[in-house]
């Protein structure tokens, strides 16, 4: 280990990055539990899952996928921008990312409220009248997309903090590990959606 940081400096970008990667592992395991439960019930109730999945709006799902993919690109570009010392461009790209996140949440809001109009939410009389497999599908749908939406919100807050720090000059060409790690986290949010989207919307 020749790359030990000197102990007098409190700043260790490599260490922070390892920390963020570990945290990302834990997040993957957290969602992994849900994916496992999904796999078990998909196997047990394939016909009902098929039927229930047809109720989801694949158009909104696709749109949100595109939005998130674009936002992953802009956040990666903004990290490159700050590495090159262009903090103005970095801020601009992050604002685009935040906008994309907001579009995602607005879409999600309309999607969920549309379902609520038809009383398709856990515990409603309509859902209670469905088959076991369909109830489980909706349960998983709300739990997985809900937990994912929560992560979008956390990512959003992180990105806004980064923007504020970029503006005040606390994130610079030489000190950008918070920026980079928030970007990593945002990619995680995107990645999980990449798996949720086909599992819930496309495989019918």
């Amino acid at each position: 280990m020749s790359t030990h940081p000197t102990h007098n400096e409190h700043h260790d970008p490599e260490g922070s990055k390892i920390g963020m990667w570990l945290f990302i592992f834990t997040e993957l395991f957290l969602f992994g539990g849900l994916f496992l439960v999904y796999a078990v019930f998909r196997n047990k109730y394939s016909a009902e899952f098929h039927h229930a999945a047809e109720e989801l709006n694949a158009f909104i799902g696709t749109m949100n996928t595109v939005v998130l993919l674009v936002s992953s690109m802009t956040v990666a570009m903004s990290v490159t921008a700050i590495q090159k010392g262009n903090s103005k461009k970095a801020i601009g790209l992050l604002i685009l990312t935040v906008l994309a996140a907001l579009i995602f949440m607005v879409n999600k809001y309309f999607e969920w409220s549309h379902k609520f109009e038809f009383n398709l939410y856990p515990g409603s009389d309509v859902v209670k009248g469905l088959d076991h497999g369909e109830i489980l599908f909706y349960g998983l749908y709300y739990m997985m997309t809900g937990l994912h939406a929560l992560h979008v919100l956390i990512g959003l807050v992180l990105l806004i903090i980064v923007i504020v720090r970029l503006k005040s000059g606390r994130i610079t060409k030489d000190h950008y590990s918070l920026h980079e790690n928030s970007g990593l986290y945002w990619h995680l949010v995107d990645l999980i959606w990449i798996f949720l989207f086909p599992l819930l919307y496309l495989i019918t």
């Binding site: 280990m1 030990h4 940081p5 102990h7 260790d12 490599e14 260490g15 922070s16 390892i18 920390g19 570990l22 945290f23 592992f25 834990t26 997040e27 395991f29 957290l30 969602f31 992994g32 539990g33 849900l34 496992l36 439960v37 078990v40 019930f41 047990k44 109730y45 856990p122 515990g123 209670k128 088959d131 076991h132 497999g133 109830i135 489980l136 349960g139 709300y142 739990m143 937990l147």
Partner: protein
């Protein structure tokens, strides 16, 4: 013993930060102060849960209701388990001694993320307090047992959600501590300290931290699913709603079995520090101990199914899990042989830390061997859900982790506070603890084999002898606990100055003043030797 003189340097205990008094502690990011805050909180919770355990023993001194009714008993064993497992034993060694000594042992000034470390403590306290709330907010205390088995935990009308949320938040605190330690060990070892020049307690913490990071999220999401099941009536695990209760058991034990290794690995690490010091001899088989920690962590991840042999899993999965359960015993046994060989031919000095460490081996062996009885498919059917299981895991968890904690506190106490306790009282307290422990738990093996079920508040008269002996043991044990704690509290105030190295230890913590200064080292040490090198450090080994 009556010396009240002061040490001359300013240690972390006297250091004044921005704030004074209690607020100074609550805002301090010093790893040593955080370690002590964990220790004080955990001690209080341990005493509460131990007294609850004593109440259960009193209840069982005679058949039929003695001091409480059946429902109260269900509540008491649930909160006893939740506190002991999630608040005391899982965080115990890693959060207390890991925080206090990991950075010092690897020659660092603090952990990698000091603020995150303090945040973990706050999360821990939040979870702990939520757990307490579950007893007092309207409605009855939870009665599901610490395992929260579905479907009952989805149906019970008690405050199960509070206990589930508490466990979830405590798990999150545990994840962040593990994350912090992994990065600390990767990034902050002193110059020259290669992986195989690192002391063995950090090695065990490293293995533990990986389990914390990779296993805890699974129980986190599982607890969330049970909460969703209760609130939204989804039925992931309730067969009446199309769910699968065995699925819950899988998800629960995928975490909760590795959690046993979160408890025991740091315990093994603590005693591994103690044996060389009190034998004045390098540890035997350094590499084997280091690698066996990792092996336990890896194999221990794949044995969870042995909790479910009677739950209706397939023949081949039972075969697989039973086989791996036997395999995981191998690295544990390797460690035991190494500890014994470390003492062999050494200059043994039977001071209190070594006394506790040796009794750790004794109790851990009994717990380990009875674990094999439970891990074998045929005998498991007979002993499943009996008092035999209760005795087994108390031998592992209390006899193992608990006695290792006592060994650790007696070993590092002079370093933590700069003062020495009375050896005489420490030895007497040890006598009570060791005797009380065996009298309390050994009879449970016997009545368990005879068929006494676990978690029952009533029993047939034929089991009474065993229960009475066990209850007597509980009283002896409690006396020992209070004796030990009083001895340490007295020493904290009035003990003689210990000096930097009372045990002639050779690891880094003994090369700095007691108590350590705020940033541990004036100058970061450069490591040239194996960690347990007892020769003249000017020679090359």
């Amino acid at each position: 013993m009556s010396s009240t003189e002061k040490y001359t340097h300013e240690s972390y205990l006297e250091h004044k930060g921005k704030y004074k008094g209690l607020l100074g502690w609550l805002t301090s990011t010093d790893h040593k102060k955080i370690g002590l805050m964990y220790m004080y909180a955990i001690t209080v919770f341990f005493l509460v849960a131990a007294l609850l355990g004593l109440m259960m023993r009193i209840e069982k001194i005679a058949p039929g209701p003695t001091i409480m009714d059946a429902q109260t008993y269900n509540g008491v064993f649930t909160i006893h388990g939740v506190i002991m497992i999630f608040i005391v034993v899982i965080p115990g060694l890693a959060a207390v001694f890991g925080n206090l000594f990991l950075p010092i042992l690897i020659g660092a000034k603090d952990v990698a993320f000091p603020k995150l470390n303090l945040f973990s403590w706050y999360l821990f306290m939040t979870g702990a307090i939520l757990g307490l709330f579950s007893q007092f907010v309207g409605g009855d205390p939870p009665d599901t047992g610490w395992t929260f088995y579905v479907p009952y935990s989805a149906e019970s009308s008690t405050n199960v959600i509070w206990a589930l949320s508490a466990a979830f938040i405590l798990g999150f605190a545990s994840i962040l501590t593990g994350l912090n330690f992994i990065v600390t060990i990767h990034r902050m070892r002193a110059p020259g300290m290669t992986w195989f020049k690192m002391p063995l307690f950090p090695w065990s913490l490293y293995a533990t931290a990986w389990i914390q990071v990779l296993a805890t999220p699974i129980v986190g999401i599982t607890l969330l699913m049970v909460i969703a099941e209760r609130v939204l009536n989804i039925g992931f695990f309730d067969p009446a709603l199309g769910g699968d209760p065995v699925l819950f058991q899988h998800l629960f034990w995928i975490y909760s079995h590795p959690a046993v290794y979160i408890m025991i690995l740091p315990a093994m690490g603590v005693v591994t520090e103690i044996f060389p010091t009190f034998s004045q001899k390098p540890v035997f088989g350094y590499g084997a101990i280091a690698i066996s920690s990792i092996a336990i962590a890896v194999v221990g991840y794949f044995v969870w199914g042995h909790h479910m042999f009677t739950s209706g899993i397939s023949y081949w999965s039972r075969w697989f899990f039973s086989f791996l359960t036997f395999i995981v015993a191998v690295p544990s046994a390797i460690k035991v042989f190494n500890w014994l060989s470390t003492m062999y031919g050494g200059k043994i000095s039977l001071k209190p830390p070594l006394l506790y460490a040796i009794s750790f081996i004794f109790l851990f062996l009994i717990g380990g061997f009875t674990g094999l009885t439970l891990g074998a498919l045929a005998t498991n059917i007979h002993t499943h859900d009996t008092a035999f299981v209760v005795a087994h895991f108390h031998y592992i968890i209390f006899g193992g982790m608990g006695f290792a904690f006592f060994a650790g506190i007696h070993y590092w106490f002079p370093k933590m506070y700069g003062r020495m306790y009375s050896f005489r009282w420490a030895n007497i307290a040890w006598g009570f603890l060791f005797l009380g422990f065996n009298v309390l738990y050994f009879p449970l093996f016997i009545i368990g084999l005879q068929g006494m079920p676990r978690r029952y508040f009533d029993y047939l008269p034929q089991y009474q002898t065993g229960h009475v002996i066990s209850t007597i043991g509980a009283f002896i044990l409690i006396i020992g606990i209070f004796m030990m704690i009083s001895n340490l509290i007295y020493a904290r105030k009035k003990g003689a100055l210990a000096g930097p190295n009372p045990w002639k230890g050779v690891t880094l913590e003994w090369k700095i003043p007691s108590p350590p200064p705020l940033e541990n080292f004036d100058e970061i040490p450069v490591i040239t030797h194996q960690p347990y090198f007892f020769g003249d450090t000017n020679d090359e080994d």
